[in-house]
């Protein structure tokens, strides 16, 4: 930027990194400039594929060779241009002055070396230290990142650690030489919310203690809000906005930023249509004439298609958009503010007729051992859950990874055979029905999966995939009828009709998810189990899918069993919420009950762990209001005795360690499984 204040720690100027692919050269990073000051957290925000990670890798000259190359630009760090340094000199800087941690702690640790050995390699000056000293250093590092049992962990291998602990180990390695800058590339994306909040808090604390700068790369606005001092927003290889966190969250300037905020689901948007950004992030193989966002921007006018907008900066903030003149005041615009469509479903429909009734459902997977494959135990993936879904309602199941959400969904649909319990669908006892009778019933309940890439057969045409249920259940007789029906479905989910004769690999994740929805809709079900249908998608695309699901619910009065770990999605569309922990439901109630008045300590922790987007930016520590959970989720093969949660529960008492709490009704629709509330009722 123009302002060349000399207290910058790192200055990136006009960085261009290109990647050669079969389809041509991709301008992945196309003229990116930004500065980091000492002790500052700078967040690079952007959707998948916009060039965030490559920007970071370019700084350290770690881009994949030979496909990638840095074409031009400068990276000034303590008076030197890093891009001109030799590989050998860079090694002195990497890991020592600038350290980096990655999204997948799994793949960045060496599986055949112990944690101690790996940390030892990065301890500075280790040749002049005795092994006792080195060991002390390692323990000190592990303690500083909050690793429990640090002395024991030194001799453990990565596979013996949980995801959160691996990330802690990575951070410990990165901190070993007290770097000036820590680059964190999506450090918490692979982790659960409660673990994520532990790691974010750790980073914030370390930053303060060591007066270190952090370059945080993320797609999550919540994380940015909690951590960042400054934000740069990237789109298709360019920086489109650079602002301090407060003004960015208070009044984002770039239309893309504004849209991003609007497309995030939350409670205030309940029953309203989410504002969507149409289309998908472009792959920038070609040269752009105008603004890269122009095809998706609803404020675009002629100029936007013809001329690339200049970077407009004032003081430290800047934006790349024709709407702004040099003072960053919005110019006269053709602002056609679209009405936010209101969805007309009434919330009052509380006493809907029960469509699905699940009673004490259990799924236990046997664990086999030895040559005779003896059963030595069970993974209690689902351990007695009961819930009811009314017609036209959405029940959300929330919980952390591995708590049995997916298994529960599949067992309800009889895709996995339940070990015990009952599933009653519209009077039919599914757990008792088998064979042909069950097959005929299947048209009533369908499922949509999380991974859009695994949910469609790569060898079948899109049309064939959608028509499959029609064929199998003989719902349409003639070929022509099937075809018209499929085309109608494609239109209904907002896909072009000519997708019929194409293969799944030609479509993006969001489009595939639409196709999966069309496939489920084909047999006109009443109930759809949605297993994290949006968690693999970008925020702007997530909004499209959520809108579609919402529309379909109103049109066809569908019921959803919505499985998710994303609280904002729950806030946006759930009528009732079930919170799961280790195979059991610990709290059940209406969305209002759970979100406004969470009773179970786990629910409270879960909700407070979710990073919130605050108008004032950088919330940092949440202080007392946050219930920080210690430790990891135990394995479902040997859940703790008594209340499963007692090892992590801040309010656990003696009885919690001995006895599983009974169901307690605390309101009309609100039930909770916790000893804290039992006593109230009993007396």
């Amino acid at each position: 930027m123009e302002n060349q204040a000399n207290n910058n720690l790192l200055e990136v100027t006009a960085l261009k990194t290109w990647i050669d692919t079969e389809g041509g050269i991709i301008h992945a990073v196309d003229g990116v400039s930004f500065n980091i000051r000492p002790g500052e957290t700078l967040a690079i925000l952007g959707e998948s594929g916009c060039g965030k990670s490559l920007t970071a890798l370019s700084i350290l000259q770690l881009i994949p060779k030979p496909a990638g190359r840095i074409v031009s630009g400068k990276v000034m760090f303590s008076g030197e241009n890093l891009l001109e340094k030799s590989e050998q000199d860079m090694r002195e800087i990497r890991g020592r002055r600038i350290a980096m941690i990655f999204q997948e702690p799994q793949s960045s640790l060496n599986p055949v070396m112990t944690i101690g050995q790996q940390i030892k390699e990065v301890i500075p000056d280790r040749k002049n230290k005795s092994s006792v000293e080195i060991n002390k250093d390692i323990v000190g590092l592990l303690d500083s990142v909050g690793m429990s049992d640090s002395v024991r962990r030194i001799n453990e291998y990565p596979h013996q650690l949980s995801g959160g602990m691996k990330q802690r180990a990575m951070i410990a390695m990165a901190l070993a030489s007290k770097p000036d800058i820590l680059i964190a590339d999506e450090p918490t994306t692979a982790l659960d919310v409660t673990i994520q909040s532990q790691i974010l808090n750790l980073l914030a604390r370390l930053k303060k203690e060591n007066n270190m700068s952090i370059l945080l790369i993320t797609h999550d606005l919540g994380v940015v809000s909690q951590m960042a001092d400054r934000v740069i927003l990237m789109y298709a290889g360019e920086v489109v906005e650079d602002a301090d966190a407060v003004s960015f969250f208070d009044a984002p300037r770039h239309p893309y930023a504004q849209k991003l905020f609007l497309s995030i689901p939350d409670r205030s948007k309940r029953k309203k249509k989410l504002d969507i950004i149409p289309g998908i992030v472009p792959t920038y193989a070609g040269d752009y004439q105008g603004c890269r966002f122009s095809e998706r921007c609803d404020k675009a006018w002629d100029l936007c298609f013809q001329e690339r907008p200049q970077w407009r900066a004032q003081e430290k903030n800047g934006v790349r958009c024709h709407l702004y003149n040099n003072t960053l005041e919005p110019q006269e615009t053709s602002d056609k503010n679209i009405e936010q469509g209101l969805i007309t479903a009434d919330e009052k429909q509380d006493k809907a007729e029960t469509l699905l009734d699940v009673k004490q459902l259990k799924v236990h997977f046997p664990i086999h051992k030895g040559i005779f494959r003896r059963v030595v135990g069970h993974v209690k993936a689902v351990d007695g859950i009961s819930l009811k879904i009314g017609r036209g309602r959405t029940v959300a199941i929330v919980g952390e990874s591995g708590c049995g959400k997916t298994t529960a969904g599949k067992a309800i649909l009889q895709l996995i055979k339940p070990s015990s319990g009952e599933v009653i669908y519209d009077g039919a006892r599914l757990t008792k029905i088998t064979g042909e009778e069950l097959r005929q019933l299947r048209k009533n309940f369908q499922i949509i999966f999380q991974d859009p890439y695994a949910s469609l057969n790569p060898r079948m045409l899109v049309g064939e995939s959608i028509a499959e249920g029609l064929h199998a259940l003989k719902l349409e007789s003639s070929k022509a009828a099937i075809q018209t029906r499929v085309k109608k479905l494609l239109t209904q989910v907002g896909m072009p009709v000519d997708s019929y004769g194409r293969y799944p690999h030609e479509f993006s994740g969001g489009q595939r998810q639409r196709i999966s929805i069309a496939r489920a809709l084909a047999v006109s079900p009443d109930l759809i189990v949605c297993d994290e249908p949006t968690s693999a998608l970008d925020v702007s695309v997530q909004a499209q899918i959520l809108n579609l699901l919402n529309d379909l619910q109103n049109e066809l009065s569908l019921s959803y069993l919505f499985i998710t770990h994303d609280i904002s999605v729950v806030e946006y569309l759930a009528h009732e919420v079930a919170v799961m922990y280790l195979g059991r439901i610990v709290e059940f109630g209406t969305a209002a009950d759970i979100l406004d008045n969470p009773l179970h300590p786990y629910t409270q922790a879960l909700l407070s762990a979710v990073p919130v987007i605050s108008k004032t930016g950088n919330t940092g520590y949440k202080g007392d209001s946050q219930v920080l959970l210690a430790g990891d989720i135990p394995s479902p093969s040997k859940p703790p005795a008594g209340c499963h949660f007692h090892v992590r529960c801040p309010q656990a008492t003696e009885i919690c360690r001995q006895q599983y709490p009974a169901e307690t009704k605390t309101g009309d629709s609100h039930t909770v499984f916790c000893h804290l509330f039992e006593s109230d009722e009993q007396h």
Partner: protein
């Protein structure tokens, strides 16, 4: 009126079936990108295409040898009033036999070395004074056209020059033909370039498909064939065997045996492996236990034992029921078929295991779960969702197994449980060479001819199968 009738042997019929299947597969693959893209990749690889050219010549030879006819016997027309019924010879000949009539019919008494004009063994004749003398007699056919003063080397050289001339003519013809139908690498937008430029592109190697390499490689078998056409009727190029048969002719005839064993066996393997592998992996439970039990049992019996037992019992059956086999060729054909079947039965387990493991992975995938929840029947899930996603494994295995099977035939025939001893096969030739290697001077050509032919076929097949695996294996493709 035709003066011959077709005779379709059982193995011929199976081969035709296989060829039809391959053609259907090609038509199917052209319509499916995931199958045709890897082939396009192979098409642009030099080594793979060279191997394919060589394989092509083997396949054409084998195919020519699999169209069998019986010629009409000309009957004396003395009894004119008798009703004319066409009479066909008992001798079953293939198209290849007809092409190589001279080589087939010109049999000597016994061994003769390559290009020899005299016999390899001495004969006794009356000498000048009535004393018996030992001498090497002239061969009946080998070099029979040469007069005493003619130079053999000069004659062979002259004929080879002619062969070279034919080869070049064929090459030029092919270049022109290719120039007519191809387009060059650098020319995607503008298809209309003149034939001269295209010629230049081909000759300078500037084409997507490596035509230059293909042509160069092709010239080798073409030259070989023209040499046979030029020299074959006058010399025994690779000598003769113990009973005076032309060794080169026998080696060429063995191609069919090798190819049939290599390909028909997979025809037997496929249904077993695919059906059992997919069912076991898909249903698991007791079905899986049963199928696993069958194939672990089967693969823990040494397959040679099974083969020996099967072939011996076939032999016993044949000696007890000679009337069921009309001709010698029927008999050896049945034995070949039997060998193919027993080889198939003993070698389906490998592929079956692979397919079972892969199916187990696939069945957990979301799209299979979705199909389940749509009430799609198991049979359809297996055929529409699982099988197409296993296709690459099947293809890779079939191509990789081919050379192993060709070699297996040689080994089995060597120990006497292979194809019928009267049938031409490299294994039988090697078996026969056992004693020849102990002779003084050495009779080396039988073994050498069999070895060279087998080596070239197996090498070409291996190179080609590597290319197929590289192109189809998704893990290798990424790297």
């Amino acid at each position: 009126m035709l003066d011959f009738t077709f005779k379709i042997l059982v193995t011929d019929a199976l081969l035709y079936l296989l060829v039809t299947a391959i053609i259907i597969f090609i038509v199917y693959a052209r319509k499916h990108e995931h199958l045709s893209a890897p082939w396009r990749q192979i098409k642009n690889k030099k080594l793979a295409m060279s191997a394919l050219v060589i394989l092509g010549f083997f396949v054409i030879t084998g195919f020519l040898d699999s169209v069998h006819i019986r010629q009409e016997i000309k009957i004396d027309n003395t009894s004119k009033n008798q009703q004319q019924v066409a009479q066909y010879s008992n001798e079953v000949l293939s198209l290849l036999d007809l092409l190589l009539t001279k080589m087939r019919q010109q049999t000597e008494k016994t061994y003769s070395a390559p290009f020899a004009i005299n016999s390899f063994t001495k004969e006794v004749a009356d000498g000048e004074q009535g004393k018996p003398v030992l001498y090497y007699p002239r061969l009946k056919y080998g070099g029979a056209h040469l007069q005493a003063q003619d130079s053999r080397i000069y004659d062979i050289g002259k004929r080879l020059l002619w062969a070279l001339f034919w080869t070049l003519s064929v090459l030029v013809f092919c270049i022109l033909l290719i120039a007519k139908i191809t387009d060059s690498k650098n020319n995607i937008e503008n298809k209309h370039i003149n034939i001269a430029t295209r010629l230049k592109n081909i000759i300078s190697g500037n084409t997507n498909t490596p035509w230059l390499t293909i042509l160069l490689v092709m010239s080798i078998p073409v030259f070989f064939i023209s040499s046979i056409a030029e020299l074959g009727p006058y010399y025994h190029i690779m000598g003769t065997d113990q009973v005076g048969n032309d060794v080169l002719y026998k080696s060429i005839k063995s191609i069919r045996t090798g190819l049939l064993i290599g390909t028909l066996t997979t025809l037997i393997i496929l249904p077993f492996a695919v059906v059992f592998g997919i069912t076991a992996g898909y249903f698991r439970g007791w079905v899986d236990d049963l199928i696993q039990y069958i194939y672990t049992t089967l693969s823990s019996i040494p397959s040679v034992l099974l083969i020996v037992a099967a072939i011996l019992s076939l032999q016993v059956y044949m000696t007890n029921n000679p009337e069921s086999f009309a001709t010698l060729i029927d008999r050896s054909d049945i034995r070949l078929l039997f060998l193919v079947m027993i080889l198939g039965v003993t070698s389906w387990t490998g592929l079956c295991r692979l397919l079972r493991a892969e199916t187990m992975k696939l069945r957990e995938l979301d799209y299979i779960q979705a199909a389940n929840s749509l009430g799609v029947r198991h049979r359809r899930i297996m055929s529409r969702h699982i099988f197409p996603n296993l296709m690459h494994i099947v293809l890779i295995t079939v191509v990789l197994d081919f050379s192993g099977l060709v070699l297996a035939e040689a080994v089995l025939s060597y120990i006497g449980v292979g194809v019928d001893p009267t049938m031409d096969s490299w294994g039988n030739m090697i078996n026969g060479a056992r004693l020849e290697m102990a002779r003084e001077p050495l009779v080396w050509w039988n073994l050498t001819a069999a070895f060279v032919f087998m080596f070239i076929l197996v090498l070409a097949a291996n190179i080609f199968s590597d290319a197929v695996r590289d192109a189809f294996d998704p893990r290798l493709r990424k790297a």
